[in-house]
Symmetry: C2
Subunit: 239 residues, 2 copies
């Protein structure tokens, strides 16, 4: 089996990696407004494998006139999906990632989200940015079966974040734009991720998005406990 | 350039990734026995890219009768080096990593250390183990220019650890076999790694070893501060 086929397989496998665990105890204690009153909802932690978002126009350039994204697998957030379509991402010096999944629906701008491992492999120095904040980021070339798109910017490492609805935000005592911490307890691989941006709105489901490097660093597949913690409150220690 | 050549290049690049930063303040405060008296030594944090250790016998099988490892690049710990030699690591279902660096000197057993990203790509479910503790771990096939070795066990994800000498250990208030925490502060990617095993002896230099997934998860290359912290002491928060 070729190296290309290996990469392809690992993308497909990793795009569905996700755990759902209940959070016990400690986070609730740190939030006086909910102590002992409402239990925390189950927490979904999802690993986003490398992927891209495309505009309607770029879908047609890459996959042919009139082409639309074809949903293959629904994502946890309602209305979002992994498409059947993939593109090749080409970086400088002719290095490339052969099979990068397209996520739908389409967006007003095209964007490629890589883990650092991917970006090192591709030879692109992808900055850590929140989705949509792509000004001044590196570009790349996207190759589809019917055409090629040259992006002048849009290659990022997506910064870790947590989606939630406003009721969840109230429960945690945070608001949209705040930062939280995510602690993943797993055998010999426990990690606390700081700098987790809260993206709260009226309808999102509670879900953390981390990338494959982060998911592998904390051995998410073997995790025994997850905790969503406020960045500062209740913490008297050196963190 | 082929995908194989890309992987090769990323190994070579990543084998030298390392940062050295001074630790300011907080760790010292947590250790009463050193407060205000001795400052913490500079801390070297090294990313160990995927690599293998070989026995003398396996070096001869893979590279030919009489072959010895040839030092190419010294590692931070005295006497250790990245060898010129690399091997191909083949997993089940004929997936492979074409170029895995051999580290020297030779050892009484052969062992392959992968990040989870590597092990997923290879199709091997590598358990998190400390070096040398390989009983019951998966095996693999090593292919060299002159021969092939089938390992019945020895494929692991190396558990994160910190080398230090006994004087450093005293300074931190820990002993060989204890666990510490490593906090890496970097832009939008700050991480606290728990479960960091202390390997203290008479002569080692102070150095943390993490793997490429961990190094990429915390954006080590962009780190602005590193702290080595005791696992429990001085911590009143929910960690």
């Amino acid at each position: 089996m070729s190296a290309t086929a290996q990469l392809d397989r690992s993308i497909i496998e990793s795009i569905v990696r996700q755990i759902v665990l209940s959070q016990n105890g400690s986070a609730a204690k740190a939030s006086p407004q909910v102590a002992g009153q409402e239990s925390k909802p189950n927490l979904v932690v999802s690993i986003s494998a490398r992927h891209c978002h495309l505009t309607d126009e770029h879908v047609e350039v890459l996959f042919g006139p009139g082409a639309k994204l074809i949903p293959e697998k629904p994502l946890y957030q309602d209305g979002f999906y992994a498409a059947e379509q993939t593109v090749m991402v080409v970086g400088p010096r002719r290095r490339m990632l052969p099979t990068v999944r397209v996520l739908g629906p389409t967006r007003p701008f095209s964007q490629v989200e890589l883990a650092f491992t991917d970006s090192i492999s591709l030879g692109i120095d992808a900055p850590v940015r929140h989705s949509g904040n792509i000004q001044g980021t590196p570009g790349c070339v996207l190759v589809g079966p019917k055409g090629v798109v040259e992006l002048s910017e849009g290659v990022i490492r997506a910064a870790r974040h947590v989606h939630m609805n406003n009721r969840d935000a109230e429960l945690y005592g945070v608001k949209n734009g705040d930062f939280m911490k995510l602690r993943i307890e797993s055998p010999q691989s426990t990690v606390v991720f700081e700098d987790l941006l809260v993206r709260a709105d009226a309808t999102s489901k509670l879900e953390v998005h981390i990338d494959t490097d982060e998911g592998n660093a904390c051995y998410l597949d073997g995790a025994t406990k997850v905790e969503l913690l406020k960045q500062k409150d209740g913490c008297k220690c050196q963190h």
